[in-house]
Amino acid sequence: MLDAFLGWLGVVFVFTGVFFLFLGALGIFRLPDVFNRLQAGTKATTLGVVSTSIGVGLIAKGWILFAVALAIFLLMTNPISSHAIARASYRVGVKKYPQTDPDECEKREWKFPEGGEEK
Amino acid sequence: MIIYVATLIVIVVIMLALIAVFSKKLLSAIIASGFVSLGVSGLFFFLQAPDVAITEAAIGAGLSTAIFIIALKKVKKGESKDEE
């Protein structure tokens, strides 16, 4: 009884994850520029993969600890990588959406390490 | 069931390989070849060779892509500017 319930709960988790992953893909397709796309991409894929892996852990009970560890690692690293992509693409000068209204980053002074030069 | 998934992966891998061969930019060629490695490692897994799959994913998709990009950066630094 409990096993069947946990299995169905896992199926629900997996389907939620798949739905959010689909939304992330749709967001990457529809939104206008890199930063907006990253917004959709990061949030949707993080919740999607975390929920899917926990669902798999509930369906196959031998893997639940693995799944939780995977989820924690993803929660730690996914925002960092998206931060790196956003920073690098701003730094390189990727075109941003024209209606981006306040752009505080433009006024920021970049620190250069010794020996580095501005291009 | 698995055969359809695998065929889909094969088609994607072949397209990525074509991109890697024909693209003008070297950086996109390198990234495409990294994705080729990832897809091929999935195929290895389906063909019941998880050992090779893990090796391919770690070395082919992870490390060698990074080393190629670093090498590309080094080579571009040595090029003369007026060629670009």
């Binding site: 992330g24 939104l31 917004q39 959709a40 990061t42 931060h83 505080e104 980053c105 | -």
Partner: protein, 169 residues
């Protein structure tokens, strides 16, 4: 950048504890052989890499209570809200976005706390931390409500900053 380092012994002990716990998780069906090997690997591996893992050492374990019972519920709730927000924007045919990059000021001192804050901001509704410069964080906001630094700080980082201040005293 201020940096409060614990003693090397405390950091080493923390690394050993974390490695041993992770090893047990990785080799899940418990067996005594795996535990022996895990203890040896934790002791040796921590010797090589304890400098990388943590700055504040065993203090991190005391923070676990706040993390589990205060931070995590807030965080999960915010993450769900963020995803529903993304869904609402993406599925709306008009796509109501009004993006902008705003600047917020944080009072947190320790680097790890700043990273926690930036990660939490990235996973909460409509915001993405783009850059960090001392006490200022640059945030890409998908629907700008205010351009003022103070109000933006209150709006974006308010709920997490309290918790993180309590955590990283």
């Amino acid at each position: 950048m201020e940096r409060v380092e614990s003693s090397a012994g405390s950091r080493y002990l923390y690394a050993v504890v974390v490695y041993f716990f992770l090893w047990i998780v990785l080799t899940y069906p418990f067996s005594i052989h795996e535990w022996e090997a895990g203890a040896a690997i934790a002791l040796l591996g921590a010797l090589l890499t304890y400098k990388q893992l943590s700055v504040s050492g065993m203090k991190n374990i005391e923070r676990l209570g706040i993390l589990l019972f205060w931070y995590l519920p807030v965080f999960i709730w915010e993450m769900l809200k963020a995803n529903l927000h993304v869904a609402a924007i993406v599925l709306n045919p008009k796509m109501p976005i009004k993006p902008g990059i705003v600047k917020i000021k944080t009072n947190l001192k320790s680097p790890v706390a700043k990273v926690w804050l930036a990660n939490s901001i990235t996973l909460t509704p409509g915001t993405l931390s783009m850059d960090i410069d001392g006490q200022y964080l640059y945030i890409h906001w998908i629907k700008v409500k205010t351009k003022d630094v103070e109000k933006a700080t209150q709006e974006i980082a308010g709920s997490f900053e309290k918790i993180l201040e309590a955590m990283f005293k």
